[in-house]
Symmetry: C2
Subunit: 383 residues, 2 copies
């Protein structure tokens, strides 16, 4: 696959704490370690990765995920994300949400005509018919997956309706049925590993039964894709699952730091936070708090998992981030440790996906020096 | 003031419901009405506007606010916002948060050297000294305001420390003391108008006393700037207040729709929501809900004031928006009214400032047709 590089080099050596703030930073060694670990764990379970670009919005990262190996392709949440990945040279892109408006269907077909391996999920007969009619005009059947709804109510059809829907899809001349998608978004952040595993396997085992039913009925079902960073270990045990749509594992965040992994320890002890944010103190003298320049325009607002202040990669005991509006955050800090105006602080971000979506670039660091800057080319691609 | 136009025209006529989604839209007639109303109400109270660009991040809107008249200048929350406004031709920019790091102070001085009427708030002696030293090198004193903290704890000094701080500032050779800023960010969304008025006047009256004290002590205090859309009516009654830092009034949002105005009715009956979002249905068949393509990457997550579905400018009875992740939202809709896949819905946004910060352009509409597209040039300027 030809992949254009989207990074650009800075002229001078810049040290981590010299960066203007707020700044998104990626520790390249931790990032590489996370890529290799998920690749290897999946490979041992006989699964491919189909890493989700909604997390990082960065073609350079997608490219490196592919280059790390054992990938079936990449995922995009929206058509505009897929178009951005294609523009950067990525192929074999699965769009994981339905594409339903006439404008978007026309754009989808333009992309499909130009791009090898584009695949689309569907969950509605009317929409499937419209896609088939449009794809017929391109002269190239559109590969599709049946999207199953694991009782989340977001996208997907009910498990009980899957067979009838699959049979309908298989008859549509403009579509090529490839298999199913089942993504349990509502389970990814269940704190306890055992509970998460048990609940995920219930849905994924039922989805696996549909895979077997499809195959028994002569429907093509070579792909069964699903899972995320939170449920990946659970779902490795599902034999029919072909590939996993993991996203956050490469960067990680505070949300994934408060759930447990297979060893009962926080999941970020397995996949450490490679992504952090540098922020500066803008105001002091407010009791035990200092005010910093990273508010909810820089850090996605997640009441349940606020950013965590770290030093040398480790949480600083007694320091806690408080949400404080669009422009600023507040750090509660024990007496005697409070930094003055202009001091820099490093934070594990709250939730990586929508935080990355607030920035145009990620500063890539090795041993405290900026070695590269990657463009978040898909930032704002919510269409 | 020379103001470069930042808008660009689309080639063909596009109707509102033909826009690709999610899309930010601005009704130009409601927008103009809001500009004129706030201008006139402030003028009747003898106040100027200093509209805050953190709300809209759009030089074209800042330009129109200035052109509407009765403005003392514009506000920027961050240095990078000010730089973006200056690049678009705006002058007389007040940066309403401290600028504290050496990198930022150097950039501030570059901007100050090039731009007429740049003004900076300060709340710390060490920072004031650093600004003075840097400004001396430019050969042009930096106009500054003392930032007062109305017991919010974000930025600003305590009222009791203002006089001593003001006297210190007045002696610094690189700075030119211009007055004070007092912004009650924590009061803007108090639901009840009377309570909001009472609490805001307590702080603003105390700040007015500092203005009188400064003047009596021979300190220059020609500017007393503060207030926002929520407290503007309350603070019109403060004689010393010279100008108001209103932001949301021009666009409005669901947060400002749940607080009352001076007539006891929702504030958005006075300043109607000019900003809305167009979204599309992506999935149906989920009980009483349909899934739309606007999640928290398109609409800022505010649990207290979710987006509101509207039709012909009026809320649709029985329709309610439910937060449903980064990529999607959910609309609860009564039976018989649920639209199918691909249907378009219009929403009042949750909180305008950080929602605008997610997009690159605003589609400007008159009578349901796109008449212009304004670039949100300061999107992502959080530094």
């Amino acid at each position: 696959m030809a992949v254009k590089s989207t990074h650009f080099l800075m002229e001078d050596t810049v040290k981590k704490f010299e960066l203007d703030t707020p700044a998104l930073m990626l520790d390249i060694d931790l990032f590489n370690r996370n890529l290799e670990l998920m690749r290897d764990r999946a490979a041992r379970a006989g699964k491919k990765l189909r890493p989700h670009a909604k997390t990082h919005k960065c073609p350079e990262i997608a490219k490196r995920q592919i280059e790390a190996g054992n990938c079936a392709g990449v995922c995009a949440a929206k058509l505009s994300e897929a178009a951005g990945l294609a523009e950067a040279g990525l192929e074999n892109i699965l769009i994981t949400s339905p594409v339903t408006t006439p404008e978007k269907i026309a754009r989808l077909m333009n992309l499909h005509s130009a791009l090898p391996g584009l695949m689309q999920t569907v969950d509605n007969l009317e929409n499937a018919n419209a896609l088939s009619v449009a794809a017929l005009k391109t002269g190239k059947p559109l590969p599709v997956l049946v999207d199953l709804d694991p009782e989340m109510g977001r996208t997907g059809i009910r498990f009980a309706d899957a067979m009838e829907f699959g049979k309908h899809l298989a008859k549509l001349p403009g579509l090529k049925l490839m298999g199913i998608q089942c993504y349990c978004g509502h389970l990814q952040h269940i704190a306890d590993f055992q509970e998460r595993t048990s609940r995920s396997r219930t849905y994924m085992s039922a989805a696996a039964q549909i895979v077997r039913d499809f195959r028994a009925a002569g429907l093509n079902c070579e792909i069964f894709t699903g899972t995320g960073t939170g449920t990946s270990e659970a779902d490795f045990a599902i034999p029919e699952l072909t590939d996993i749509q993991v996203g956050s594992y490469c960067m990680m965040d505070a949300e994934y730091g408060v759930i447990t992994g297979p060893d009962g320890k926080p999941l970020d002890s397995l996949y450490p936070p490679a992504l952090t944010m540098l922020s500066s103190v803008v105001s002091t003298g407010h009791g035990d708090c200092v005010t910093i320049d990273a508010g909810t325009k820089a850090l996605y607002f997640t009441p349940a998992a606020p950013p965590r202040a770290i030093r040398d990669g480790k949480p600083i005991p007694g320091w806690s981030y408080n949400w404080f509006g669009d422009e600023h955050g507040s750090l509660s800090i024990p007496e005697g440790q409070r930094p003055g105006p202009g001091a820099k602080v490093e934070l594990i971000v709250s939730h990586c996906d929508p935080t990355v979506n607030l920035f145009d670039e990620i500063f890539v660091l090795r041993n405290g020096e900026v070695i590269d800057v990657w463009k978040i080319a898909l930032r704002g691609c919510c269409r």
